[in-house]
């Protein structure tokens, strides 16, 4: 997919962000186009999670712009970012453990007051394994089920852009496959996805395009299949 001819949904321009004195992201640029699945890969500490948090307003950007559908959303509080249609799944602690499965989805759909039941029904249709456990507390789910619930909580709002922070972290290989299959399904339904992943090889197989981030800066970018076969990426980030 050529991002110069397709309308871009998200455009991160020269973004710098950090915590206190420490600068984690330094002048990062990336784009996500309509219908696209984009992966950001890179070693531990490259700033991938900070990039996600800066996009949704959990970390205030130091400088740069985050354009969503052409509007600069950099520095907006998270609840206003969500209201514009960006849903985000954090890497850890991404469900409300003391709430039931259904209540988790209700919180995901907090911003819509009408048609809640239809939304829940659609979400349960997409995640049938959760429907059977809708009255169970999320804290009692297994790691894989929890990750599914985290995805469901984010898509119940029917986002215009989905941000995923390491959806495969801490999961058994079989569960990683299931979660990635679900992500592909969501993307195939037309939802653009921006995903950061430690599991670079799987992420590159899944994504259309990818960026390689290191030390808080862009290193490489390109179609995912090219990066997958690129020698430099293989040597540095795929551990070969």
């Amino acid at each position: 997919m050529d991002s110069t001819t397709t309308k871009s949904v998200l455009e991160v321009m020269h973004l710098s962000a950090g915590y206190g004195e420490v600068l984690i992201l330094n002048d990062v640029c990336l784009q996500v186009a309509e219908g696209e699945m984009v992966a950001v890969i890179g070693p531990n500490g490259a700033g991938k999670s900070t990039l996600m948090k800066a996009n949704v307003g959990l970390v205030r950007p130091r400088s740069g712009r985050v354009l969503f559908m052409g509007e600069d959303i950099a520095g907006l509080p998270p609840e206003q970012v969500v209201a514009r249609g960006i849903c985000y799944v954090p890497q850890a602690d991404n469900v409300f453990p003391s709430l039931t499965v259904q209540e988790n989805l209700e919180m995901g759909a907090y911003l819509v007051r009408r048609g809640l039941q239809e939304r829940l029904d659609r979400a349960f249709a997409l995640f049938p394994e959760l429907a059977a456990r809708r009255r169970e507390r999320a804290g009692r789910l297994s790691g894989g089920q929890r990750q599914m619930l985290a995805l469901a909580r984010a898509v119940v709002l029917e986002p215009r852009l989905l941000l995923l922070d390491e959806p495969s972290a801490g999961l058994a290989p079989r569960m990683v496959e299931l979660v990635f299959a679900k992500v592909r399904e969501i993307n195939a339904a037309g939802v653009p996805v921006l995903m950061v992943e430690q599991n670079a090889r799987e992420a590159l197989k899944l994504a259309h395009r990818a960026y390689v981030l290191a030390m808080g800066q862009n290193r490489l970018e390109g179609p995912a299949d090219e990066l997958l076969t690129s020698e430099e990426v293989a040597r540095v980030y795929l551990g070969e």
Binding site: L58, P78, V81, V82, P90, D93, S98, Y110
Partner: protein, 365 residues
């Protein structure tokens, strides 16, 4: 290397499994102790048990507010007891219009008790509908006051990302200010809503309770039920629980957290006012009393698991029953003096913090 790493991980799992089992064991033992204690007290001294339930229902309303505030705002609200007492005084003021004067009390020309029939006793209770209205006024005023305090003090601290110690000390300051205000406006002498001696009713097993005490129990049960419905059946209540679970996830779910904070303060303030009025009915209005009850209220919230609403109710009841039952206990051949009641709450608090800081029903971490 691989073998060593595997052995280490096995050892770690074994250790964690052991810890998990130990914790489950202390949990089971504590539950058995609590249930056994409650049953034992109910059988051996039903009259103390009944008073404990009445006092406990006042503590429970206070602990419920405390634990909700802890869950949503994540700090120990040390002003809870004094603001609660202030709620009792606000109801007194709305009812009688009395403030302390230089030589004798001055009374405002208009107050709720000047409404026709406002002080004629409701059934067998000591008070009329005037006090009920006054309590509602106090709820509204205290809710607004709490929201104001949050805007003026706690929100700036939140925005500065202040640590929990700063919040605790700030709320201690509010507590002292509230106590001084009560001393200034109503003086140090205890006051009552209604003067007079009222007989108690006799119930089976030697239990004697006044109508006001039965009323207190009923109000506490009804309010706890309403709060339960709010927390588990409404959008706002679920958002409050979600915030207590994970504030960042709540924000990226689109929950306007500042709005939830305001509503939590309003609910907490209203609960404090009701608890204050009921405490004054059970004991008296006294500027020092709020700080005295803060300790058992905290002990109850921690016993049940701080941040856990059901735990707060249970814990507050247990602490109150223990305090009342302690009056009958003998230690070194002497009967325990009632002035040791706060000590009982302290012992429960310390034992829980040592053995099981997450409480009976599990705390928010």
């Amino acid at each position: 290397m691989a073998v060593a790493a595997r052995a280490a991980s096995l050892a770690r799992e074994g250790w964690q499994g052991l810890r998990y089992r130990l914790e489950a064991l202390t949990g089971a033992v504590l539950w058995a102790l609590v249930v056994g204690f409650l049953l034992g007290t109910a059988v051996s001294s039903p009259e103390n048990f009944a008073i404990g339930l009445v006092v406990g229902s006042v503590y429970a309303l206070a602990a419920l507010g405390l634990t909700l505030l802890y869950g949503v705002l994540r700090f120990a609200h040390f002003a809870h007891g004094d603001l609660m007492m202030l709620g009792g005084y606000l109801a007194y003021f709305a009812l009688t219009g009395i403030v302390v004067g230089a030589r004798r009390d001055t009374q405002l020309p208009a107050a709720l008790e000047s409404l026709p029939g406002a002080t004629s006793r409701l059934g067998d209770l000591t008070f009329g509908y005037g006090l009920v209205l006054a309590a509602l006024v106090s709820c509204a005023v205290l809710a607004l006051l709490c929201i104001g305090l949050d805007r003026a003090i706690y929100r700036p601290l939140r925005q500065r990302r202040a640590g929990i110690v700063i919040f605790a000390v700030a709320s201690l300051g509010v507590a002292i200010a509230a106590r001084s205000l009560m001393l200034l406006v109503w003086g140090p002498n205890p006051r009552l809503y209604v003067e007079g001696v009222f007989p108690a009713h006799r119930f089976p097993f030697g239990v004697q309770l006044k109508s006001d005490q039965v009323f207190t129990l009923a109000v506490a049960v009804a309010l706890a039920g309403l709060v339960y419905l709010l927390l588990f059946r409404t959008r706002l209540g679920k958002a409050m629980r979600a915030m207590a679970d994970n504030p960042d996830l709540a924000r990226v779910s689109g929950i306007a957290t500042e709005g939830v904070v305001i509503r939590t303060w309003a609910l907490g303030g209203a609960l404090m006012a009701v608890a204050g009025v009921l405490l004054a009915l059970q004991a008296q209005l006294n500027p020092q009393l709020g700080f005295v009850v803060l300790l058992p209220v905290f002990a109850g919230a921690i016993l049940g698991g701080i941040g856990n609403p059901l735990g707060a109710l249970l814990g507050a009841l247990v602490v109150a029953v223990a305090q009342e039952a302690s009056v009958g206990w003998e230690l070194f051949g002497r009967q325990l003096d009632p002035t040791y009641k706060p000590g009982v709450a302290f012992v429960i608090l310390i034992v829980m913090l040592l053995l099981r800081p997450r409480g009976l029903l599990g705390a928010k971490t």
